[in-house]
Symmetry: C2
Subunit: 332 residues, 2 copies
């Protein structure tokens, strides 16, 4: 009889699986992890904005079913489902309070998913925190007691986890590492403050800095490499610096100073065992990592300690969000 039940559950029966969803403005991606946190199946559906929240949630459920089918896993064997969303969340009620690029306002996403999928254990988290959870449980944070992730993207997202607990603050709004001022009264930030880490060290900030430098130097190779001001991206100054352009070198040098400044701030506060840097800029590899490590090692308060924070580039890349969402159930 036991054998028969096992057959019924399929080849992967009796084991436990975790499902994560990375809900983005462009794609809804669902992934299934096995007990070793390896991704064994996935599915993606276009978010296709603008459309009502109800339709998006229905497609999230569809993506989950497809991903489990692709993984050869029954939904009954899924321990829990985690959702990583942009914007601000209320974890207790499973509500997306506000997410601008999804046009979500007070969407009770967890209850609606429960109603469709008949699964009780559904967790909700901000996407930056979900990515940090992914790296903590399945990447460079594995087995470490304290960990933080800083993602240099359109904005700067962050997540701090120690002993399996995510830093969210008493009102759930904590962990906004990007919205710490590093240049008092500096560049306007989207959050309303002036001079935030995000306004100097995000990919968006790098693009702004690159364009300003190009405007001041019509002879810079960056013009040719980018193919015009509107086509500048985060790679432009790095590529031009690599080919010896002095203006680009200066842009990259100052940008890395800003990144190192914010990272040193975070290390002086948290002294995590591992700090991971994520985001598209990480494609620069050692061109990014080595100068930052060098600056941090000269400046951080614990520079004479035996034990120093290990700074690494995120190992999970774009999958961090899905993997982390799937593992939200592990957080204390």
């Amino acid at each position: 009889m036991l054998y028969a039940t096992h057959q019924l559950l399929g080849e992967r029966g009796l084991a436990v699986y975790y499902v994560g969803i990375d809900l983005g403005g462009t794609n809804i991606v669902a992934g299934v992890l096995d007990e070793d946190y390896r991704m064994i199946g996935r599915a993606a559906i276009k978010t296709a904005m603008p459309r009502p929240a109800k339709e998006i949630i229905a497609d999230m459920a569809r993506a989950i079913v497809q991903a489990t089918e692709n993984a050869g896993v029954f939904l009954d064997n899924v321990d829990s489902i985690g959702i990583g969303t942009p914007g601000s969340v209320d974890r207790e009620t499973g509500t997306v309070m506000y997410a601008g690029n999804l046009n979500f306002s007070n969407v009770r996403i967890v209850d609606e998913m429960r109603a469709i999928l008949h699964k009780e254990r559904i967790f909700l988290e901000n996407d930056a925190n979900a990515a940090a959870a992914g790296e903590y449980y399945a990447g460079h944070g594995r087995g470490k007691r304290s960990f933080m992730q800083i993602t240099l993207g359109t904005g700067i997202g962050g997540g701090v986890i120690s002993d399996g607990r995510m830093l969210i603050g008493f009102n759930g709004a904590g962990g906004e590492l990007g919205h710490t001022v590093i240049v008092e009264n500096g560049e306007q930030c989207t959050c309303g403050r002036k001079g935030c880490f995000e306004a100097y060290a995000s990919a968006t900030a790098l693009i702004r800095q690159t364009k300003a430098a190009m405007m001041s130097d019509p002879a810079s190779k960056m013009w040719e490499i980018a193919g015009g001001l509107d086509r500048v991206d985060g790679r432009t100054p790095f590529d031009a610096a690599g080919s010896g352009d002095p203006t680009a070198r200066e842009v990259v040098k100052q940008y890395l100073r800003y990144v190192a400044c914010g990272i040193t701030n975070m290390i002086n506060i948290f002294q995590p065992e591992v700090l991971c840097i994520g985001g598209g800029i990480c494609n620069q590899g050692d061109n990014l990592l080595l100068p930052i490590k060098q600056m941090v090692s000269l400046e951080n308060f614990a520079r004479n300690c035996n034990r120093q924070t290990d700074i690494k580039i995120s190992s999970l890349g774009n999958d961090a969000g899905i993997i982390g969402a799937a593992l939200l159930c592990k957080l204390a």
Copy 2:
């Protein structure tokens, strides 16, 4: 027989007491707390620098014995002893790694105290963290889940505690809130970085800013109020601003901007239930607190949340360090 034992233990016998020491460059102060964390006895001995660590430690033990006598408590009834020290500590080995103003370097202070007092439970902590623990257990943090203290003194000390756990980082060097840059490439800080919160918002920084403003305005009332450049202290600009001096008002306004900038940074990261401001500057009361609350309420990331961090002035004043040292045993 039980009665006789009780007599032997003295009037306060059978109860549990906590002893804390605030070890400073000028005074060694010991205090005894009862079970309600009230100070029921204290004693002070001059640190009388320079002299060897051994002598200072012997006087710390003497101060403890005197304080218990003043409290009418037997040392046997003391649950534990806590030591708050300047500088950096290794909590596990009970060692003061380095404390410049005590001329301590790798002093195994806990072992030496154990040998003199024959008490096993002796805890060691950095003085800023000890002060935070005091306010957390016996002041405005009582009963709160998450708490932080920022002390604006000669430097800026900080302590972050949530769920009874102090933020110290994996190497014990964390929680250096004062050594986070708020003005990239700004004023030189004692830590080696440029532009730290401490270099702009400590009492030392305020005095520097005040002197610079006086030099640029020979007609400022600050000259008369201070009685000379060498006699400027943290009260000078506040007193002069109160009497209508425009230059002093500008100094105070900009100083409060720096303080609010650093505090908003910390709130955006931690969103603690309560944030306490300590240090001598707190004597300014609402002249300090109200403008800071105003600026934080306009700028912090959670300004639209239902629940906001409550910003308060430390309730324990100079006793925070002794009380907190006594309660180090409570930390998880």
